[in-house]
Symmetry: C2
Subunit: 348 residues, 2 copies
């Protein structure tokens, strides 16, 4: 059998490769550059082919495909969400993604995205807070839910928004201890708190990132003061919310892609015509964003395909310099494209 041709080979970035890439760049520069890449794509939001993700739900979780295209490059992510996985020692969320050329349909990158999704979710949160928080509102952040996404959030806020203090709370003390230990020595004042109320004291930004697949009330209305920016990350599928409805009713609500967020976000608790604002319009200068310093702003983040597209493109560009990719023999490439059968038979 002859060796596969160049066209047959798809660069693949493994989990180990992704970790090497993060260390080669440095995690904070990685988060800053990634936020810039996402921001650049939000500025050209109308250029993207957008569709709500395609979800396959079961009793125990969900498997989703998230495609998008800018007309030159196509990308999609495979991602699952299985809250019960953690108890068996598995990840709640695992993911991988792919980029392809629109012109030929040929894949040009396959990448792990469990780590990359954690990075892009944090980078997107920090980018949104940069645009929406009140002046000075990102100096102190509360981080409610100290699981797999927590440290990425804290470092993205430090790198992108200049956050100095992070106040941790989780119903699981071990999660808070893990998060505090991981964040030690990274230039943040870390305060572990015994209650959510204590965590939000003095915080201009509150990130909720909990994992239960159920309607939960991590924050009640009386806990959220004027001028706070809320970053609701954990409510991201039907039946899974984190904030009390009353908070939503007095917030300026910003979303990624309304048709998806109405199904998956905190706003699934509201009537389908409740007004929301699109974050991309704020970034593109087409909408004012925060109304005034006393408004409560809410980024009802569910994660959208464009962010994954940005992340994959960023990785592809930085990867080109590194040699960290493996080459996968994934695309059948007969010498005569009509002779697929002959290629298979000659391989005998």
């Amino acid at each position: 059998m002859s060796a596969p041709s160049r066209l047959a080979l798809v660069p693949f970035l493994s989990v180990a490769g992704m970790m090497r890439l993060v260390h080669a760049i440095g995690i904070e520069p990685f988060l800053v550059e990634l936020a810039e890449e996402i921001e650049a794509d939000f500025r050209r939001w109308p250029a993207f082919d957008k569709t709500p993700r395609i979800a396959s739900h079961s009793d125990v979780g969900v498997i989703e495909l998230m495609p998008t295209s800018d007309g030159e490059t196509y990308g999609f992510k495979y991602v699952n969400g299985h809250p019960a996985n953690m108890k068996r020692g598995l990840q709640t969320v695992t993911a991988f993604g792919l980029l392809a050329e629109v012109e030929t349909g040929y894949p040009v990158l396959l990448s792990e995205m469990t780590i990359l999704t954690a990075l892009r979710t944090a980078a997107t949160s920090a980018m949104a807070a940069k645009w929406l928080a009140a002046p000075g509102g990102t100096g102190v952040m509360a981080l409610i839910g100290n699981g797999a996404q927590a440290e990425f959030q804290a470092l993205a806020f430090r790198a992108v928004c200049g956050t100095r203090e992070v106040r941790l709370y989780d119903i699981d003390l071990a999660a808070t201890a893990k998060c505090a230990a991981n964040l030690a020595g990274r230039g943040l004042r870390v305060v572990s708190c015994a209650t959510a109320e204590e965590a939000i004291l003095g915080a201009g930004t509150i990130t909720t990132v909990t994992a239960d697949k159920q309607y939960a009330t991590i924050l009640t209305d009386n806990m959220v003061g004027a001028g706070v920016h809320l970053n609701a990350v954990g409510g991201d599928c039907p039946g899974k919310t984190e904030l009390h409805r009353d908070i939503l009713l007095r917030s300026q609500i910003f979303v990624e892609y309304p048709p998806q967020t109405r199904i998956e976000g905190e706003i699934q608790q509201l009537p389908p015509d409740h007004p929301v604002e699109e974050l991309w319009q704020v970034i593109a200068g087409q909408a004012p964003g925060r109304r005034d310093a006393r408004a409560v702003t809410l980024f009802d983040s569910v994660g959208f395909a464009v962010e994954d597209f940005s992340a994959l493109r960023y990785v592809r560009r930085r990867l080109a310099e590194t040699g960290l990719a493996q080459q996968l023999d994934m695309i059948a490439d007969p010498d005569d494209p009509r002779d697929l059968f002959g290629m298979v038979m000659r391989a005998a």
Copy 2:
């Protein structure tokens, strides 16, 4: 950095691996077993979570994701269709696919599917003809369009339906010559024809499998006699058809999944309420199939996600015996699932 754990590794079947698997099993036994696998899944059709494929169209082609699930296993295929690729020496259709456990969302197989799609399309055609053709109607088949799918069709019909003679026609003489050469010595009488009219002489089954992305008329009404079974494979996206509308109007039309076929199949030429029959109901014994020996039956094949699911499951089962899979480090798997960040940092 420590080695990835077992859970992090996803078995991957490369193009070279797929070709070795085909040769290890033998291409005709592979097609027969694959048709049996697809048939078994058609019998339990209501068990599948079904959705039309998610297509991203451009001027030059389409990229599609085709997901399905039977509640235990989830599968999807990535596939492109770019008719202009052939002129640049690229495949019109390339594909890969994945299976995952519904219970955990973890992938359990990544496989090339360019070759596997060719095999499953041919196996599905032959399975449909076995159920729909008139008695004796598969002894002689016409094969109009002699490109990358042609030989697979011919061998699947030989292996599954006992076809003895295949009559070839293509507007490109070189394609017919390639197909005839590839089929020599494989137990079929092969007749190369100068016109489509000549090709269909005496054929009880006519397969059309041409590749132009346009409304074309490969067959006109007067060419199709009583009792013929038509297997329309090439018309599989909006704007791409092969049969004259009048043929459809006097045929019993069988489809895979009506919501998808109404968009992509030959029946896009018909009103959206034109009656069609579902192939799975015939196979499951819930519908009679062919009305009588003089009826014209049409399998308006566009390719559905369940067939890819069947193919991937078949490959996964047969692969287990062979050792042909590579192990891809694709799933991040920290010792403590909440400590993704710690895993990344310790990799330094």
